[in-house]
Symmetry: C2
Subunit: 329 residues, 2 copies
């Protein structure tokens, strides 16, 4: 099934079941008012939501069915209790470090790298994304994210995959020119990782069919900047750590609460003809090839689209289509 959060009824919006073709939707207040409420009691409520989704697919003249409009969507979870982002495409990490002349420790191939993002302000797929200064080095990062139920502390890789209840797409905006100073302080990212934007729709793994296997999504992740193709790397290729491994890593010393969001990090393929999922990677390749980057970071007014099409050409999660703007001062 496909789920979305419509912007109404307060900070957490209202949960809607969405048709597979993203054309119709229906609010489900009788089952759960919000996606967080559904995730809090997922085992009991998911079958009821699935039933409603099946009825929606059957069509029929239910009076409460509405046209689905991605512009009315908040992030599937407009605010969440945990947002941890991996860096699972290690070839990307290796490449970026190479450009600045730094070797990558061999342990990066076996020990996942993760950071914790702000989860109190998750942006919708059509939101304007305000930044204070273009000089901060505004970049997109197109990635896959999963949403879990409750995951106990010490969950092993074998048990972790079953905790993936939903998948969606994210644009984990980065402020590249704030990163070096911040990482030099040793405590990781904070100012350099502003609010993340999410696709209009989150889907259960079965919606991906055979494209969801080995706890990876085997489909190209498409991104465009100002309408021009930017990248379409395959999210199932070159993913060093699958989502089960990421979840096992993050629950080594803690549990995850229902509704935790776990990201893949920027999707990246060795096959450079697939393009990139962030400007940093493109600029790094330019630097390696010609001594300096040519492609600028994003500017106020730039538009970034991210989407994923199924084998049948259908848009799975809806399209992120965010415009970068100057923050009100």
């Amino acid at each position: 099934m496909k789920l979305a959060t419509l912007r109404r009824g307060g900070r957490d919006g209202r949960l809607a079941v969405v048709s597979r073709d993203l054309k119709r939707c229906v609010l489900v207040p009788g089952i759960a008012p919000t996606l967080q409420a559904a995730l809090d009691d997922w085992a009991a409520l998911a079958p009821r939501l699935a039933e409603r989704a099946a009825a929606l697919e059957m069509g029929g003249g239910q009076a409460d069915v509405m046209p689905f409009d991605a512009a009315q969507c908040a992030a599937p979870l407009p605010r969440a209790y945990h947002w941890v982002d991996g860096s699972a495409y290690v070839n990307h990490v290796e490449l970026v470090r190479k450009a600045r002349g730094a070797d990558m420790p061999a342990s990066f191939w076996t020990d996942p790298l993760v950071y914790q993002g702000g989860s109190d302000d998750l942006l919708g797929a059509r939101d304007e994304v305000p930044f204070g200064d273009e000089a901060w080095g505004i970049d997109l990062e197109a990635e896959i994210a999963v949403i879990t139920d409750d995951v106990p502390m010490g969950t092993g890789v074998a048990a972790a995959g079953a905790h993936v209840k939903l998948l969606t797409l994210a644009n984990d905006w980065s402020l590249r020119n704030l990163i070096p100073g911040e990482l030099a302080k040793g405590f990781g990212f904070y100012q350099s990782k502003p609010a993340t934007a999410f696709a209009p729709v989150a889907v259960t793994p079965d919606e991906l069919g055979t494209a969801w296997r080995g706890h990876k999504v085997h489909l190209p992740l498409v991104s465009r900047i100002n309408g021009a193709d930017f990248g379409r790397p395959d999210a199932g290729t070159d993913m060093t750590f699958d989502f089960a491994q990421l979840i096992a890593h993050v629950t080594k010393t803690r549990r995850l609460g229902a509704g935790a969001i776990v990201g893949s990090g920027t999707v990246s393929n060795y096959d450079r003809s697939r393009g990139a999922s962030c400007l940093a990677e493109k600029r790094t390749l330019e630097q390696i090839e010609s001594g300096s980057p040519r492609t600028p970071f994003l500017r106020f007014g730039d538009r970034v689209e991210i989407e994923m099409l199924g084998a049948d050409g259908g848009n799975i999660f809806g399209t992120l289509d965010n415009r970068v703007t100057r923050a009100a001062s």
Copy 2:
């Protein structure tokens, strides 16, 4: 006023107004079911909660007043949307780095250091705190935390202080032996910072009287290990960045949502006779003095208490009294 969350009615508990002497409390379902709900609409609801608190102080035989029992409390916010912890007592950072022979950049005195903690699982003041392995180097970190309302992006220091709506205490457990490996990866803490525990009660700034000034709490923060005094540094002394400065720092590139928790970091004084608020500091001093640390990290069964007494000797936030246990495997 003083507020607590009683462990009933689901994952977010139920909001209670608590008497100043921590002896009585009353649920306030007619005002707000949970603390998060109160913070989501603080300007409208805080005056009504304050009225209820005033009535509770007056005494009287209201049928719904109950004895207050800290053992029935969850964390004031059992789960939150944002938990960012500063490291505002820079002398502590300088000391710990000195012990490992590392200079501290001068910018640390002017540019706050913060990290983002997991907020989906905040522990109550009497919870057992499970860890997988004593070899991880289990440590306490006694600190002050504030809870904000909505804070816009780009809030300056002058405006930031007014966003402090509540204060409480936290024990931000650290796994010291996991930190070096994790920080070496460059992305900051994750596995080395497990779930944080909070005091039973959160209070509005006016409850602190003149002890709340300059956006600092000018009172000793008391910690005990297995019943023995461990430290009582003054939280208002040697705090390089006050809470207004911390909030301004964390909102440079993002907004904070209502109910965001901002921590001070381990409270630490130059006056070593005040003791410490974490074992790492004590061990560092031992290493500087005698070449090696003598005090071990915490062991399964150890008990850690943290509290703060007002000028009148009254317990302000209630006492954190957590026992370290071996996680079920």
